[in-house]
């Protein structure tokens, strides 16, 4: 009768945390309604209901870590339950200020409806067991006597919430910890006498990078840079203001960019590539591709050219070891492509670029950027990058300083190409020039090497025939 809903194939990731539970026992759901939201790296992924029906039992709560195949909940597709009358609260819900609101409505509804927030934030497992023994038994007895309406509402009481007794943190920090679901007993205080400050909480939340146990714990300089916060200002005293919540993506990418910017000593090398020859070739391919529903953009060529450069200069396809005493050079070429979405910047990764041709890459780029804009990227889409390209090509500009997508060591920025007069030894000739801005981690790459890399890229882009070499 009931359908078990399990975590679908989310790629090779285990122990992905649940950041939201959208339903509670007794809720009616339609097929494809989001049930829970998983988060890993920079991706969030909703698990949709496979069938319509009524949620019978929920086996997970916010904070639980799940893997492919983990039981999420059971859905009763039958139509037996009485539907509660619409309530004032439900009618009013859109007006309730949603904490995590913003453009993404699904987050808002969780925060606005108390029943959808899991009881008790502690313990990844075992809440059921604790609840079962002491509470549920007695409650069932009582509920049984008063009929189904009562019984339906009886839930298991979660295990005791983490006790903050003995934690050195003031009441406001303790409340913030509760709001964010942070176990204060696991937070290290940086304040006087080990006092936990609000900054400690936030640093703890950013925490070790979610890439998994393989990645080093982030306790480096960025965790507590000692940089004084920018003092808060009451902008309203100068004129009207409006506070808009950041999108989820921006909230997640912000700390990552900040961490990269602070940890990596950046240098940006600027150059121009002559793509006068490449451009007509690209247009030809593009024209041929259009009937098939994809475009051939310069990005595909940049991917190919970059792979060629990465193979020649393996330092660019590496990462510093956690101990910073060796270089981990990667034997695969997965390239990230920064995609602008309405929710913010995401960087899906195109895998094995070295084994794909321009056509295949173009098709994949079309597909992946579409998914990115629709917010449908999976965790797999975002992991494993070795080098990143950030293209502002369609918009304009002369040059910019992209931020290295750590732990990668270099990122290539491109802006719009422009026809420029170029001296060919005897005269100025009009050439289509593509500005290239390569930011790199100076701990790994020296200026001379960067200059050689960019020069090589320019050479490859100048003569598209080299791309196939």
């Amino acid at each position: 009768m009931t359908t078990e809903v399990q975590v679908p194939d989310i790629g090779a990731f285990d122990d992905v945390p649940i950041i939201e539970v959208h339903v509670k026992a007794g809720d009616r759901v339609n097929e494809e309604d989001p049930l829970i939201t998983l988060e890993s790296d920079k991706a969030t992924m909703d698990v949709p209901a496979p069938v319509a029906g009524q949620v019978a039992e929920i086996a997970v709560k916010i904070g639980d870590r799940v893997s492919t195949g983990s039981l999420i909940l059971t859905i009763d597709p039958g139509d037996g339950a009485v539907e509660a009358p619409p309530t004032l609260v439900e009618q009013q819900e859109p007006e309730v200020p949603a904490e995590a609101g913003g453009p993404d409505g699904s987050h808002g509804s969780v925060m606005a409806n108390g029943d959808k927030v899991a009881v008790g934030a502690t313990g990844s497992t075992g809440a059921e067991g604790i609840a079962g023994s002491k509470w549920a038994a007695g409650a069932e007895g009582i509920a049984g006597a008063v009929g189904a309406a009562g019984a339906k509402e009886v839930i298991e009481m979660a295990g005791p919430a983490t006790d903050f007794t003995g934690v050195h943190a003031g009441p406001s920090v303790r409340r913030t910890a509760r709001e964010l679901g942070v176990d204060l007993t696991a937070v290290t205080g940086s304040g006087p006498k080990g006092r936990i400050t609000k900054d400690d909480l936030l640093a703890h939340l950013r925490g070790p990078s979610p890439a998994g146990p393989a990645s080093p714990p982030v306790v480096g300089p960025a965790a507590g840079t000692g940089i004084p916060e920018i003092p808060a200002q009451d902008f309203a005293q100068f004129g009207p203001v409006e506070t808009r919540p950041l999108s989820r993506i921006r909230k997640l990418s912000g700390p990552h960019l900040h961490r990269s910017w602070l940890n990596v000593p950046h240098v940006t090398h600027h150059d121009e590539a002559d793509i006068t020859l490449l451009d007509p070739y690209r247009r030809e391919l593009d024209a041929a591709a259009r009937p098939d529903g994809y475009r051939v953009t310069l990005l595909a060529f940049l991917l190919k050219a970059s792979v060629s450069g990465l193979k020649r200069f393996p330092e660019f396809n590496s990462s510093l070891s956690p101990e910073k005493d060796s270089l981990i050079v990667k034997g695969y070429y997965h390239l990230g492509v920064a995609v602008d979405t309405p929710e913010g910047l995401v960087v899906p990764v195109i895998r094995d670029v070295d084994r794909k041709g321009i056509i295949e890459l173009s098709q994949e780029l079309s597909a992946v950027s579409g998914r990115a804009r629709d917010g449908k990227l999976t965790v797999t889409d975002l992991q494993g990058g070795t080098f990143t390209i950030s293209s502002l090509g369609g918009i304009g500009g002369v040059a910019f300083t992209p931020i290295v997508n750590a732990p990668e060591v270099a990122i290539l920025g491109v802006v719009r190409s422009a026809m420029k007069p170029v001296w060919n030894g005897t005269e100025f000739t009009p050439r289509l020039m593509l500005p290239l801005s390569l930011s790199y981690d100076h701990r790994v790459i020296d200026g001379a090497l960067a200059a050689r890399f960019v020069t090589y890229l320019s050479d490859v882009l100048e003569d598209p025939r080299r791309l196939i070499l």
């Binding site: 009358p85 439900e90 009881v119 919430a161 003031g170």
Partner: protein
Amino acid sequence: MAEIESPAARGDVHAGVLVLGAGPGGYTAAFRAADLGQSVVLADQRPALGGVCLNVGCIPSKALLHAARVIAETREMAAHGIRFGDPDIDLDALRGWKDGVVSRLTGGLAGLARQRKVATLRGTGRFVSANLAEVTAADGGVTTVSFDRAIIAAGSSAVRLPFMPNDDRRVLDSTGALDLASVPRRLLVIGGGIIGLEMATVYHELGARVTVVELMDQLIPGADRDIVAPLAKHIKARYENIYLTTKVTGAEAGAGTGTGTGKHADKDAGGLRVSFDGPGAPDHDVFDQVLVAVGRVPNGRLVGAENAGVLVDDRGYIPVDKQQRTNVAHIFAIGDVVGPPMLAHKATHEGRVAAEVAAGQRSYFDARVIPSVAYTDPEVAWAGVTETEARAAGVPYGKGVFPWAASGRALSLGRDEGMTKLLFDPASKRLIGAGLVGPNAGELVAETAHAIEMGADAADIALTIHPHPTLSETVGLSAEAFEGTITDLYLPKRK
């Protein structure tokens, strides 16, 4: 009365959040929930919001205690050169002032409810099911209220002693004592806790000869003995009798009926013959009135919790988690009904948590300490761990004590019996408990509660400049005493 209508609701009215009980916890929960966008119905049997605390508890008793304080101070000043005549007490006017204080506050609450569009229902609320309650008015009219979430704030009731002639109007509970119908010549207060001693303070100053009988071997059994000692000494010298470790074994009405009125009603009506069992207590004695203040019992069984599937334990408490949820996820409980200490300021904080969780926020009751205050003369107040508890639990502690005899401010008030005692964790030096006795101790304890919540250590408190000359200095000086840096006392070196 309620204006909320929803055609789809099953009850006469529908509430996003139904709050049962409009005491400090209940109205706080209702107001907070309304401020968070919920549609709220607040039900209470009293005509005025505010529950026991505002109507027949904390507030009216504080008004009367202030009157008592004025009487005491004018009398004390006689020894220092200012002599007034004996007070001429107009009981009706005093009662009127007290009632005015109450109605001003409860009227303010009604206004706050209106501004928030909280619908109030007068009557006794009971659950019918897990989503429906009925509120029965005094005239028998029933209003059904369906709800999405409910907060039980049903409070507590004074314990009645089975052997007392409880229908006799000379047998009072705290509510009756606050009515101030008359001042008896001899008053027996059964129960030497906070409520009993506060009422004893009032009636003593109004002219009654007071006897206090307490079952335990000290007054205010929750507080440390050394903190209570100055109070015990003060009242022992003034009251007729204090019987400790003594049981009241029976009581019977004397010749009168107790139905008389006026100032000397009790005299005309004969007395209540009360028998005792305890060292130092007589076998029996006769009193004009008896105040029973032996404790309060939770009202958990009075709200039909079983109809909603909400568990009530065998003492009448409703168990909740740190988010104030009962075993039924959408029903919360707060205040006296969830467990001791039965204090308004605990209930209001729990009420906020329940309302916030009901509105979808992740709130928890994470307060470390709930201060207690006895508004006696002198006042007794404490927060956090008491020395008695620390010893019993084997919690290590260090102590800093400052006797108010060395406080210029206390002496200039004509009082030297006070004491401030701070308990510290010996390893971290953080404040873990405080006990104070003396005039205004109830105000001083707030600083220590704040210090504990903030994790302040002895140096933090000692290095905070306290204004001079104030009683608050005694807190800073106690921390100095613990640190061994105090100059206002001479303490022999510890090591």
